[in-house]
């Protein structure tokens, strides 16, 4: 019996294995704005995580000898340049800006993750159980949703007080109904699908059905909400701090830095309000661009159009 020898394929004819760079290039080509947003987020996250290693000064150390120095001023005692100038307490603006990223991300991620996750569970649960539970739950959500985000957060801060942890609570609570409402609408359709009936008929518990069979299938709207929430949370934290109701001195936070400089030093030391303003704008812009890109990728209708 004659044997057929199979010639090995030449390596040039094999499809090249995709690297992470290929994926990155593909994403940049398809979602250039989303990629730019992601880049901002990555830089911000890097700054937040490695803040202690990338800044030349402790952001809370006062150095009155160098109060309100413009960008580029040299610290004669250390030989280090105040890249972005100093504030009214002589603190290095660059160091405070980088550490401010840590505060922004801590509040942004914590509030949006907790808020979105609780909203996810409540939304899916409400849709799954339906009936009176859904009716009552949705009316409660209506009450929460009737207040604009900032008003709700202000009211909660007024009750709980100021400080990083309390600001996180103040931002988390208004996020819950917003996520729950969106997720519920997707879960309502899922509830009617046969595999949910099948799960019920074989005796799975409600928790198992909700958590293992429904929650994973509403991930697309959930992730879109989540990314949008991070940007909103950063903006809210800055707003509360600007109003003096959020993070408190001497903690480095962008809204607080803006508050400390906007009124008194806008003319005589414009770098004091400008840098935190730029940081807030870039961060929110970055998360919004990235959120839009996530939506484009996960939304089947938009994906089909693309």
């Amino acid at each position: 019996m004659a044997q057929t020898e199979i010639a090995p394929l030449e390596s040039s004819t094999l499809p090249r294995q995709k690297t992470i760079w290929d994926a990155a290039l593909r994403m940049i080509r398809r979602q250039p704005l989303g990629s730019a947003g992601l880049l901002v987020i990555v830089i911000m996250t890097f700054a937040a995580v490695f803040a202690d290693y990338v800044v030349p000064y402790d952001p809370e150390i006062e150095n009155f000898e160098y109060m309100l120095m413009p960008p580029g001023t040299m610290d004669e005692t250390t030989g280090i340049t105040f890249m972005l100038g100093t504030d009214s307490f002589g603190r290095d603006m660059f160091s405070r800006l980088v550490h401010g990223a840590r505060t922004a991300l801590l509040v942004g991620f914590t509030a949006s993750f907790i808020g979105a996750f609780v909203g996810l569970v409540l939304g899916v649960g409400s849709a799954y159980f339906g009936g009176y539970i859904d009716l009552v739950f949705q009316r409660v959500m209506d009450v929460f949703m009737a207040f604009p985000l900032i008003i709700m957060a202000l009211a909660i801060v007024a009750i709980f007080g100021t400080g990083t942890e309390k600001v996180i609570i103040a931002i988390t609570i208004p996020f819950i109904p917003r996520c729950a409402r969106v997720v519920r609408s997707s879960a309502l359709a899922l509830r009617e699908l046969p595999y949910i009936d099948a799960a019920r008929s074989i005796g799975y518990s409600h928790t198992r059905i909700v958590m293992r069979h429904m929650v994973p299938n509403v991930m697309a709207p959930f992730l879109i909400m989540l990314t949008a929430f991070v940007g909103q949370a950063i903006l809210l934290e800055a707003s509360l701090s600007y109003l003096g109701l959020g993070v408190q001195e001497p903690t480095a936070a962008w809204g607080l830095m803006l508050q400390g400089g906007a009124e008194e030093f806008a003319e005589s030391a414009p770098w004091v309000p400008i840098w935190p303003g730029v940081a807030i704008t870039l961060a929110v812009f970055g998360f919004n661009l990235f959120g839009d890109a996530v939506r484009d990728v996960l939304d089947p209708k938009l994906r089909a159009q693309n």
């Binding site: 150390i61 006062e62 009214s88 008194e264």
Partner: protein
């Protein structure tokens, strides 16, 4: 370049002030014109007997008279008082310092046309010193030494005291002691003045639009001859400092009486040059650090002393005065008063006043180590007001950091701040303040007494009480000085029960056509506006 701009601004401001002062002395007041004031706080009620805010005093004081007042031509003096509705000079006491007899001017009328007599003065001070059950009086404690008030005839009021007291006359001169008509009190009751105005001051009330403005017009029957000079005034409500600043800059307002921070002054001077006059003064107001002695480890005097040692008051005065309305280093008495301890004495005798901050920091660290609190962490309760509360709070945290303390700041709006400080007393360490109108050191330092109703440090000390009791009973200035020094050393050094930060510094930039008003060491004083006038030629130069 560094440091040149502030010096230039200060020079311009100083020159403006100097020229303004010289010009004011030489010029003749002109009659006519309207004054626009901006006020940064709301009016809780019109009744000065129950209020303590400049938000009420600035717009409402010009409608009322007082028995005596600080000399409007020399308001910076803490001891120069003159008659307002009384006649002649401020009376000297008789009967070993226990009787004061005031002669009341004839011909004074309230704005409703009824005459003002000694009976009205008696009714007013009876309401303040001996309010009936259920009637509030914020300054009742200042008149504890008063035994009785009599009005034997229409022009005589006699105050009889339980003992001689150096605090009586300054207490009478407080600007909150508006003279009310006895008929109003008898007819309408003791709460009528909270919502109604019937005074005998230089201006008559026209209208109050909530959140917008108060207007007054000249009282042609005013008893100080030739005054007031203004046709009227409008007090505009503007809670945000930036709006008040822009109101003066844009010509919408002429003056703000509470005071601006240095940066705001510099901006105004830079923008308007010689069209701005700047008046500056030490301010009878100081922020305190109040540790809660009931909370560990603040029951330990070593910890409290370490806290005060860590505060570099002289450095703070030099730098903080560039960004906040604080400046002067002092003890418990208003720094310019004869009873105040000179700074050199404070440096030598009181912890935390030494020039050698490095040595103080080492000493503080050693005390903390000895107390087992080298890694002390606590929360500083503070009031949500930028100037100077939040600025000073942040500065203090930086100072304490230098001795290893880790401090968070809990900034609360005014109402919850007061609730925590005064009622719940659930704080570790809090900012508190001692702000007074008339400089009245013996009364003012009662704040540091453990049994004082407004001391929130929660401690007891019999020795301090004893020193203060002796202080109240002596009218001899030399004895008062000795006792005040003992009292001060006990409070700030031995017990370190509370800590003085920096005394406030009042900066009033105003349009240079506003003449006749002189700065006082308190934003409550010299606010009747009867001396103020508008220089019309100068105003034209401003294009207004």
């Amino acid at each position: 370049m560094r440091g040149v701009a502030p010096k230039l601004v200060a020079a311009v401001a100083g020159a403006g002030f100097a020229l303004g002062a010289v010009a004011a002395m030489a010029e003749t007041p002109q009659v006519g014109g309207e004054l626009n004031i901006v006020v940064g706080s709301k009016i809780p009620s019109y009744d000065a007997h129950i209020e303590s805010t400049f938000g009420m005093i600035h717009p409402i004081r010009p409608f009322y008279s007082t028995l005596i007042r600080v000399n409007p031509d020399n308001p910076s003096s803490p001891t120069d008082f003159v008659c307002d509705v009384c006649e002649g000079g401020v009376p000297e006491p008789t009967d070993n310092g226990t009787t004061y007899t005031f002669k009341i001017r004839s011909g004074i009328t309230f704005h409703d046309g009824k005459p003002l007599t000694a009976a009205d003065v008696k009714a007013t001070f009876d309401k303040i010193a001996f309010p009936p059950e259920g009637v509030a009086s914020n300054r009742r404690a200042y008149f504890k030494m008063v035994e009785s008030i009599e009005a034997p005839d229409d022009t005589t009021v006699v105050f009889k005291l339980k003992h001689a007291s150096g605090t009586f006359i300054p207490s009478v001169a407080m600007p909150f002691n508006f003279i009310y008509a006895k008929a109003d009190l008898d007819t309408h009751g003791y709460t009528w003045h909270q919502t109604n105005i019937n005074g005998s001051g230089p201006f008559r009330f026209v209208e109050h639009v909530q959140g917008s403005h108060v207007t007054g017009t000249r009282n042609d029957d005013y008893y100080h001859e030739g005054k007031p000079y203004l046709d009227g005034y409008t007090a505009l409500s503007a809670p945000k400092m930036s709006i008040r600043l822009q109101a003066i800059r844009g010509g919408r307002a002429d003056i703000e009486f509470r005071g601006f921070p240095p940066k705001a002054r510099d901006d105004l001077v830079a923008a308007l040059g010689d069209k701005i006059t700047v008046q500056e003064s030490d301010w009878n107001c100081v922020l305190l650090v109040t540790p809660n002695h009931k909370t560990k480890p603040f029951d330990d005097p070593r910890v409290r002393r370490a806290m005060t040692l860590a505060i570099d008051r002289h450095g703070g005065s030099k730098y903080l005065s560039n960004i906040a309305i604080v400046k002067t280093v002092g003890g418990i008495v208003f720094p310019n008063h004869p009873l105040a301890t000179p700074v050199d004495e404070l440096k030598a005798n009181i912890a935390g006043y030494s020039d050698d901050i490095a040595d103080s920091i080492e000493h503080a660290k050693a005390l903390l180590e000895e107390a087992g609190q080298s890694d002390l962490k606590f929360t500083l309760l503070n009031r949500g007001v930028d100037q100077p509360y939040k600025v000073v709070g942040t500065w203090l945290i930086g100072q304490w950091r230098k001795v290893g303390m880790q401090v968070d700041q809990d900034v609360r709006p005014t109402t919850p701040f007061y609730a925590s400080l005064r009622k719940q007393k659930d704080f570790d360490v809090s900012i508190d303040f001692n702000c007074q109108s008339i400089v009245n050191p013996i009364a003012d330092v009662s704040k540091f007494l453990p049994t004082a109703g407004n001391n929130y440090a929660s401690f007891e000390d019999a020795e301090l009480e004893k020193i203060y009791a002796n202080l109240l009973r002596t009218a001899n200035v030399d004895e008062q000085k000795i006792l005040i020094r003992q009292y001060e050393k006990r409070v700030l050094n031995d017990l370190a029960s509370q800590m003085i930060t920096l005394w406030w510094y009042k900066i009033n930039p105003h349009r240079s056509y506003v003449k006749g008003w002189k700065i006082a060491p308190s934003h409550y004083l010299n606010q009747s506006l009867d001396n103020v006038w508008i220089d019309k030629e100068e105003k034209k130069r401003h294009g207004l």
